[in-house]
Subunit: 353 residues, 2 copies
Amino acid sequence: MTSITSSSYAVHFNKNAYTLLNEHLSKANYSKIFILVDENTHNCCLAPFMSEIHGDYNFEVIEIEAGEINKNIATCTQVWEVLSELDADRKSLMINVGGGVVTDLGGFVASTFKRGIDFINVPTTLLAMVDASVGGKTGVDLGSLKNQVGVINQPEMVLVVSSFLRTLEKRQMQSGFAEMLKHGLIKDKNYWNELKALDSLEAIDQLIYHSVTIKNEVVLQDPTEQNIRKILNYGHTLGHAVESYYLDHPTYDLLLHGEAIAIGMILEGYISHKLTGLPKEELADIKATFLSNYPKVSFNTEDIEAILKLLKFDKKNSHGNINFVLLNAIGTPEIDVKVAQELLEESFAYYKD
Amino acid sequence: MTSITSSSYAVHFNKNAYTLLNEHLSKANYSKIFILVDENTHNCCLAPFMSEIHGDYNFEVIEIEAGEINKNIATCTQVWEVLSELDADRKSLMINVGGGVVTDLGGFVASTFKRGIDFINVPTTLLAMVDASVGGKTGVDLGSLKNQVGVINQPEMVLVVSSFLRTLEKRQMQSGFAEMLKHGLIKDKNYWNELKALDSLEAIDQLIYHSVTIKNEVVLQDPTEQNIRKILNYGHTLGHAVESYYLDHPTYDLLLHGEAIAIGMILEGYISHKLTGLPKEELADIKATFLSNYPKVSFNTEDIEAILKLLKFDKKNSHGNINFVLLNAIGTPEIDVKVAQELLEESFAYYKD
């Protein structure tokens, strides 16, 4: 597959990705190469990845604990310290091999170590391939508040190797699939219909490619998220709040990012129907599609109240206003819509109904 | 005094600084303005600063503990958390009123909060006025390793108000003066001679202006420190190692940044004499000038060994090589010089002699 060119770098696919990585390494003369993994990718992905690298480089592997709960400043501090101890310098390279936790955190650590060293992302989950692979967002959570600390900074390249998905659990695949469905909802009704009709996520290469293309087009138009890039946040305003709330309640079942934004997309679909003209049938389609792909979560009144309180931390807010991305129709988003409190509560009632 | 224009912003001086700040605030429509201070600037500088701001804005003051020892990630985390609690959003502004600790740390916190909010620096020490005011370096220490974590990012504007210096202790003034002497050494022999001949640091406005101009010219030529910007590190390779070593040994007397780099400039002067042609008389001039302005520190063999070990963490290093900035003569620097271990040890002998 042809590489997809983003602002200052490109996303390369499968065999071609390794060829271009090897070319880059042989030219760049890095002093040392650090590979950041978590426990899972250390086991499943590191060996196949390393076997594709030809040449005699100075490698060090750094492992962090897996899971969103570890995407925080304490883990960054550990990695910064290990880099220092292992003599990383400004000409070192960091390769982040993992899901969104590894690529978001690794990108932030690299962007801030000695005021910035080169990094390459190798997303190994479907979510990271279709979502974190373009856009240059790096960062970590602050307590349970998602991505409150970070920078926008671009990697040298991104390598999407779909064979890594073979090791991924079905539930993790579904989590990534939610972002792909979102790409359909905000930009491409045909793609939405195509994804809905899928029997399985096996032959997924072309779909990943299409999702990366959609996201990349949006990001290139508005790298710093002043306007159109906000459409990528569809489902994320309420979805992030739900996700944060679950992160904060370890006694609840774990909710994956895609599962949380699937809920957010139903809730914000309802609000879109009420405020921005999303037709009733399309709303019903959205609800049915997500509920057939993702477990239905039950929220009590106390949960909903607490979740709505978390909205004030949303990064799209300004001047005390919460700004939603809503849909006029499937494929046609509208940004910067303010929503009354009652409607937010109603949307949960619609979800539960 | 005319403003000095840097890459994307300008440094404004005295009365004019307040006029332009007020203009900026009245235009920018910030949702909230956070003023970061430490204990000292809270007492000495905040009230006079606030009295110059006209208009009805939503202010919050955040205080951190003073001192280099607090320029770390733990303090950043506190400030990020307070910003979250006080509903800072992407349209908030942070004004850093203080010395280098406040402007370096505040710049980093602002550059990373929700992936970056606007900030303005108001340096209140001579060191921060002549050194931290241009260049966009933000960051914090990692343990005792100076500025290991940070980003390069530019403020909206920098305000240099020399009346803040009236509250500064003589020793702190001297610390900033060391960076000004460095500007002479690396770029302007006449300026070096002028500074040497000063009787007092009272009428210092024009000299600050000249120092900011020198630094700004260098930074504009090479914002990312690929080549010429490295000359600003003269005295800092060994100076930072000495400073880190002292930070790590709280039982030793505190050594200020300027005092540490004054030592570094003598040490690297000696190495310059041996390697890059700095004339004997100029070396003697450098040593005499710094020893007449700064206390002589005594190092034992163990100290020196430990200090030299710290050199491996220097940010200019690459591929295991320590890169020094040396002088061919006063006013004429040379970058990327490698120095043998024996010569480093000899330089300490020369300092002690």
